[in-house]
Amino acid sequence: MNGVHDLGGMDGLGPVQPEQDEPVFHAEWEKRVFGLFLPVFACGYYNIDQFRHAIERMGATAYLNTSYYEHWLHAYETLLVEKGVLTAEELAARQRKIAAEVA
């Protein structure tokens, strides 16, 4: 698909900004998202190309305004709901419960 992920040659995306002494992860949640990659993959609901395609389908604005591990999180949520492993309602209910607990 001719999505925004296909970035080669596009202008206007700003300068490259390397970070000095960059850590492997920038937040605890990034670690969890990374750590889920292989265990969820091993469940066999999707392959790597379906995973990439799920990221490509997330929408141009969202893609550019979110980070790499947010792309992964979006792919898990999208594919696991599409494959019937989770429901969107189940995810939303659990998110509300966790939000209420930490509030």
Partner: protein, 116 residues
Amino acid sequence: MAITAEQALGAVAAGASARVDADVAPLFKVGDRVRARNINPRSHTRMPRYLHGCEGVVERDFGVFAFPDSHAHEQGDQPQHVYSVRFSAKDVWGREGGERDFLLVDMWDQYLDIVS
């Protein structure tokens, strides 16, 4: 059902190769002049837009791999050869391309046509 920590580290070490053990003849050989197809599927592809219609030269044949365009849509592996194809930046970007700059991009059989 869930993999254990030990199994997860075993899977890291083993990897998950996209190679397919299939006897598939290559459609191109090293040195062939090829053109990247102008394909615009609404579905998944690993053909970057910037190469559409560009001519390059096959530099290396990596062997047989699953085809992402079908694999992403439960249409099977469609195993085929993957090549490293060399494109001149001048051919890809026109006046903006550097005289001595080149792009080397991995291309599946179905992304290419022979230039006769």
